[in-house]
Amino acid sequence: MIAELGHFATILALVLALLGATVPHVGIARGDSRLMAVADNAAIGQFLMAIIAFGALMYSYIISDFSVYAVAANSHSAKPMLYKIAGVWGNHEGSLLLWILMLTLFAAALSLKGRKLPQRFRTRVIAVQSALVVGFLLFILFTSNPFVRLDPAPFEGNGLNPLLQDPGLAFHPPMLYLGYVGLSVAFSFAVAALIEGEVTPLWARWVRPWTLVAWMFLTAGIILGSWWAYYELGWGGWWFWDPAENASFMPWLVATALLHSAIVVEKRDALKSWTILLSIVAFSFSLLGTFLVRSGVITSVHAFANDPARGVFILGFLVVVIGGALTLYAWRAPKLTPGGLFGLVSRESALVLNNILLSTFAGVVLVGTLYPLVLEATGSGQISVGAPFFDFGAIVLMSPLIVALGFGPLLAWKRGRLPRAATTLLPALVVALVVGLFTYWQTAGGVVMTAFGLLLATWLLASVAMEIAERTQLFKNPAGFLRRLRHLPRASWGMSLAHSGVAVLLFGITISEAWTEEKLVIMQRGDTAEVGDYSVRFDGVAPVTGPNYTAIQGHFYASPKSGGADIMLEPQDRLYTDPVMNTTEAAIHSMLSGDLYAVIGEAAGGGRWSVRLYFKPFVVGLWLGAAMMVLGGLLSLSDRRLRVGAPKAKKLSAEA
C-alpha cells in the first residue's frame, strides 16, 4: 500500500511539475499574476509529493518489504538500520528519486526564500526548475520505477554491495547530489536571464548564494567519497581519477570558476555572457556525471548496474536540456550588453585568469575521461588514461592559479598596481622560497615536485596572511589592528579561510605523497616491523562476527620510538554473506603528524600473515583543507544572507 502511495505521489508530482513548467510562462506573457503564482504553488506541491514518494520508498526499506522490487534487489533483512536507509540511494532507482527530491527542494526553496526577487523573474526561474523536474520524473516513471511490485515476493533480499556498507559512503551520495542539483539553480537562473534577455549585477548577487551552497555540498561530497576510498579500498590512495570521480570533479571545477566570475558580474557588470555560459556548463557537467555512471558507456567501480534503454533516455534528456540551453545561449547571448572595461592588471584580470585555468583543467579532465571512449569508437584499440596524465595537467594548470591566487585579492578593481601588490607579498615570497629551497636541499635535490608543492602551499598561506595584514594595516597602524580585524566583513573571512583551505590541502597532498612509508611484510605473532617512527608488533589474529559478516581481525601494537603510549591497530578482512564478498577494512590511526595505516592480507601458512603497513604524514591536511573550504563558503554565505535583497551596494572590496 505504502509503495503504491509513493508511486501515486510521483505521478502527482509529475502533473504539478508539468503545470509549473508551462502555466507561469503563459502568465508572464499575459501579465496575469495569478497564473504566474502557479509556479510557486506547483514548486511547493512538487516538493511535498517528492517527500511522500521518497518517504514511502524509505519506509519500504526500513520494514524490509521485499515485495517492492527495489528493496528486494538492494536490501537484506539482516542489514544494520543505517545501511537499510542508505540502501535507498545506493542504487539507480532510489538515487534518482533522491535527485528529484533535491531538485524539488531547491525549487521550493527558491519559491520561499526568493520572495525578494522580482516576481516575473522568479517565476521564470522556478518554471525552468519545474521543467527539469518533469524530465527526471518521466525518466523515473518510464524506465526506473522503484515502486514496482514483485508478486510473489522473495523471502529475502539480495543485499547491498558490502563495499558500500560504510558510514562514509552512506552520506557521500546525498552530499554530492545536493551539490549536483544545487547547480541546477544557477542553470535555471541563467536560462531565465537568457529568456528575459538581461543580466544585471543584481542577477549575479542572486545567483551567487545558490552557487555557493551547491559548491559547498559538492566539495563536502567529493571529499567524503575520497575519504571513503582512502580507508575502505585498502590501497592507501584517496584519489584514483576514476571516471566516476572525474564526473564529480568537473562540475566542481566549473562551479568554482562560476563562483569567481559571478563576482565580476556583481561588482563590475562585466563577463556577463561568459558567466551565463558557465552556469549552463556547470549543471551540464552534473548531468553528464549522472549519465556516465548510469548509461553503461563507461565501466567504473562506481557504476550502477545499467541498461541501454535508460542510457538512451537520459542521453535524449541531456541533449534536450543542455542543447536547448546552449541554443538559447547562442541566440540570446549577443543581446547581453557588454560590461565595464578593466585594466590588464586588475582584480578582474586575476579572476579571468582563474576562470581560464579552471575551465581548461575541467576540459583536460573531460578529455582524459572520454579519450578512451573516442579511441574505442574509432576502433583504434583500448587504452586507459592513467593518473600521471591528470596529475601532470593539475600541476601545469593549477600552479599558475595558486601563484595568481596570492596576488588576486590584493589587486584593485578596474586597475590594480602590480608593484604595490608585489611589495606587500614580498615577505610571503621570501618565506615560500626559504621553505622550497630548504626542502630541496633536505631531500638532496631528489624530489623537485615536493619542494615546489611546499613552496606553492607556503606562498598561498603566507599571502593570505599578508592580505589580511594589509587590509587591517597591521604594519602601518598597529594600534587599530584588532578593531579593524573585527570589522572585516564575513565574506572576506570566508574568502581567506577557503583560500587557506586550498593551501592546507596542498600541504596535505604534497607531504603525504612525498614522505609516505610503505612496508609489505610477512609477520607472525610477536614479529615487529618498522614504519615511520613507529615499531609495529603483530599480536596474532582472531575471528570476529558482525551483523552480516564474519571477519579475521589482526591485532597490532604500534609504539612510537620517541616514547609514549602504544597505539592499537585492528585491521579486518571481512567476508560478507549477502551478497558473498570479501572486503578489506584498513585500521587507521589518524594523528596530526600522520596516519598509521594497517591492512591485513592473506594467511601465508604457519601462522604467518601478509601485512601492509603505511605511515602517511599529514593526510589530515586533505580533510582539514576541504573542511576549511566548506567553512569558508559557509562564512561567506552568512554574510551574503544579510545582504540578499539589500539595496544595490556600490562597492564592497570583500571577496574575490
Binding site: 515476493a153 549519465f291 548496474a305 542510457g311 572520454l370 558473498v580
Partner: protein, 176 residues
C-alpha cells in the same frame, strides 16, 4: 560562430555516446562465464518436495545432455521464460533441471503449480551457495551440461524472443 561552439561540442559528444551505447554486442556488464568447458562444480542440495531425493552433481553425469536452470518464484523474468522451458521439456524432449535460488520450497512449488513444471528434477539452493559456485550473475540463468558433467553453454538472462530458436536449441543440437 564562437557562440555556437559549446552547442557543437555537446552535440558531437552526444553522438559519440549514442554510438557507444547502441553498438552491437557491447555490454560492459555481461560477464562471460568462465565455467564453459569446465566440469560442473560439485554440490548436493535437497529437493523441493520434502520427500523427493536431493539433487547432486551426479545427476548431471548421466550420459545425456541436461539443461540446468536457476530460477526463483520472486523473479519476474523467470515467469517470462517459463514458456520456453516448458517447450524445451515437452516439445524438444530436453531434460531440464531446476534449481530454486534463494526461495522457500513452498513458494517455488506454488510457482510451478501455477505455470506448469518443466523440470525433470529440482533442487533448493536456499542460501545461494550453488549459484555462487556456478558463477551465476542473476536469475534466471541456464547452463547446458553435456552427458559427462561438463558445462558447454550458458544462457545469460531469460530465454525469451528468439533466444530459444537461435541459441539454446542449436547448442543442444550440437551435443546430439
Amino acid at each position: 560562430m564562437q557562440r555556437f561552439a559549446p552547442l557543437i561540442i555537446v552535440l558531437a559528444l552526444a553522438g559519440l555516446f549514442f554510438m557507444m551505447m547502441t553498438q552491437e554486442g557491447r555490454n560492459p556488464n555481461e560477464i562471460k562465464s568462465v565455467m564453459i568447458g569446465k566440469p560442473a562444480p560439485a554440490f548436493s542440495i535437497p529437493g523441493l518436495e520434502a520427500d523427493a531425493p536431493g539433487l547432486t552433481d551426479a545427476d548431471l553425469r548421466t550420459g545425456e545432455p541436461v539443461l540446468v536452470n536457476f530460477f526463483a518464484s520472486w523473479c519476474v523474468p523467470c515467469r517470462a521464460e517459463h514458456e520456453s522451458l516448458m517447450a524445451l521439456a515437452r516439445e524438444h524432449g530436453a531434460t531440464v533441471i531446476g534449481i530454486a535460488y534463494k526461495d522457500t520450497p513452498d513458494r517455488s512449488l506454488a510457482f510451478l503449480d501455477e505455470l506448469g513444471n518443466p523440470f525433470a528434477k529440482t533442487g533448493a539452493d536456499l542460501d545461494g551457495r550453488v549459484a555462487i559456485d556456478w558463477g551465476v550473475t542473476g536469475v534466471p540463468e541456464t547452463f547446458l551440461v553435456d552427458g559427462s558433467g561438463t558445462i558447454v553453454y550458458r544462457h545469460w538472462g531469460p530465454i525469451v524472443g528468439d533466444g530459444l530458436e537461435a541459441q539454446v536449441l542449436p547448442a543442444l543440437e550440437a551435443l546430439k
